[in-house]
Symmetry: C2
Subunit: 382 residues, 2 copies
């Protein structure tokens, strides 16, 4: 089983095999996909809206048959809900299209990337650009120390810097205030790429207000903000993301491409997101999911058999104290309890032993905690 | 009305305003969208399959919630139905993503583009690449003469040549045999970009067999074939296209990008297309639509009030002989009969006066012919 899994993983590059592939190839029943980083309550809300409004075959047909609106038309729609000028908005076929576009078009010379992190950031760097990996410290729970990062940037004469906040796979978070300080000190850089794909799960007070910096970027023209909407809105299959950047960059991209890069459902989603009533409902499910996640992490932290890394995202790194490798822990959870977690043994810059576990629905999180507890008790009682 | 339309058109760049925008802004009822180039019978088939298999909210939810398969996984699926190795297949978020990728990554020096044609070909050419427009002759009904084109390529020391077959907006067609001759004579070019986005509507005998060259490209490594699936399969909103190219090019693109560029519905569509029973059903609706289009063009050619350009695509250029400009003809058809056609006054390289009319369902085509007849009779009887 372990060998077969390794083979499947090899075929998926630096990403985990999909649940469909696992079902087909390993024949194991997956009850909880805790590999998948999304808010399931937001998916419920999206499906309710879609089927409420476009529920018939004819309603959906329009979204599939006809050309969707062009990039700038969708940007105008999104502009209303973000309070960011459409001239600064670039719509992406998922955030990953924008990561690629920005790395290929605007990054020259060199780039610094804190590791461990989402692998596409270093995999998509084009030929001719040198990558400087900034190692996050295990002793600091992988939290990005912005002062150390600034020093690293100076010492290596870096032109372009990446920050993922909260970071994936560890969930390390920096406050808005600290980031603004970093922007001030690094205004000489060509580009600061700030990825806020997990920001909807972070918070700075018990109000759980959204701590995004997207409306503050007028003051920092070298900052490019990238935002996946797959995780927070639970719609990875419809490919939605955007970036906020200087208008000159948006124009350069649109002048020679990216004309019809959204599909019909994505266009529908952006329409929905510009609707006040949807936004209010979404904010409720966002906060509900954050509360669930906080409870989940709380329960996990009580399990003496595991180490965890503090997180402000919707996932958590977990390592056994009873001698299982990350792959063994993953296989045990999958085969005994039907829980699929992300084996992080391939994450460059991360110590061995960790799996990443996503927060799911309340009742699923209860099963995950119970299963981890059973597993630790079994191993520790031997 | 004409002024308002011009304003809307200005906002859409070199593409026509969408039917949604027209409805909202002009308040006119559009009964037949003959601007839209697709086979409606194929959309019927797709919707039947989708709702037959995934008809419930839960079935569709899976396509929207989870990450779709990666590019190369979809290529493996498509490979089976095309009989082309997946190593030579690049999946696109619509053909337009591939046009952009190829122009930006593989075209160096200069490029020749026959005009009139689909505007993205010259609009997406990156800085530093010189564009040579090859004017198609009105006196030859805009049909691309491949011998003249070869001479033009030689005379201008061209490195990259584009051929769209059948061409848009005129529907001019070159046979497989003539294209193979052209490939033989131009094997020294860096790239020959062959766009077959309308090939499913073309035919070379009464069998109506598909005259694509995609399985013949092993012999011509400098040929890149681009294929939109929006028109023939009637699914513009789900963004599906592919390119066949040397494996080295596919690798270069995938090494630094294009990882998850298909959405869940697109992945479902490619699965469907690899299914033999679907392919048989599709071939029936493809041939039915070609027959309809032949009948439609036949009827149009009998109308003495209009000039037409011979076509092998699913659309036809039409010009009034009674003094209307293309914009006036478009507005007359829209306001009197609710028929929306493409005013081609902005098409570079096309003589003035033409509108492009798409073939639709049989009964819609009857209405279009009748409306054109009424219009001509009214004008000619004055």
């Amino acid at each position: 089983m372990l060998e077969k899994f390794k083979e499947l993983k090899g075929q998926s590059g630096t990403h985990s095999p999909s649940i469909e592939v696992l079902k087909k190839e390993l024949g194991c029943e997956i009850k909880i996909d805790a590999c998948f980083l999304s808010n399931p309550y937001a998916t419920d809300l999206f499906m309710d809206c879609l089927f409420g409004e476009k529920g018939s075959e004819n309603g959906l047909r329009d979204l599939f048959e006809f050309y969707p609106p062009q990039n700038q038309d969708i940007a105008k729609t999104l502009s209303k809900s973000l309070n960011v000028s459409s001239k600064n908005l670039m719509i992406g076929n998922g955030a990953i299209e924008l990561i690629q576009a920005i790395l290929h078009r605007f990054v020259k010379g060199n780039i610094s990337i804190p590791i461990p992190t989402f692998s596409s950031y270093y995999e998509f760097v084009p030929d001719g650009v040198q990558t400087y990996k900034f190692q996050l410290e295990a002793s600091q729970n992988y939290r990005l120390n912005l002062k150390d990062y600034t020093r690293f940037i100076e010492e290596n004469n870096i032109h372009n810097a990446v920050i993922i906040n909260p970071n994936n796979p560890d969930g390390g978070y920096n406050t808005r205030e600290d980031l603004v300080d970093f922007f001030e000190q690094n205004s000489h850089l060509d580009n600061i790429i700030l990825d806020e794909s997990f920001i909807h799960f972070a918070y700075e007070s018990d109000e759980l207000d959204l701590p995004s910096l997207e409306t503050k970027l007028d003051l920092y023209p070298n900052v490019i903000l990238i935002k996946s909407m797959a995780k927070d809105f639970g719609v990875a299959g419809i490919r939605v993301g955007y970036a906020v950047m200087q208008s000159n960059y948006v124009r350069q991209l649109l002048d020679t491409g990216y004309l019809w890069n959204s599909n019909g459902l994505a266009a529908y989603f952006f329409d929905l997101y510009s609707n006040e009533s949807f936004k209010l409902k979404y904010d409720l499910v966002r906060k509900k999911y954050i509360m669930n996640t906080i409870m989940f992490i709380n329960e996990l932290s009580r399990l003496s058999g595991y180490e965890i890394i503090p997180t402000k995202a919707n996932f958590i790194l977990v390592r056994s104290r009873f001698g299982l490798t990350s792959e063994e822990l993953m296989i045990e959870l999958l085969t005994r309890y039907g829980i699929y977690v992300r084996d992080c043994s391939d994450k460059i810059g991360l110590e061995p032993g960790y799996v990443r576990i996503a927060s799911r629905r309340f009742e699923d999180n209860v099963v995950i905690v119970d299963s981890l507890k059973k597993l630790q008790n079994e191993y520790l009682s031997v």
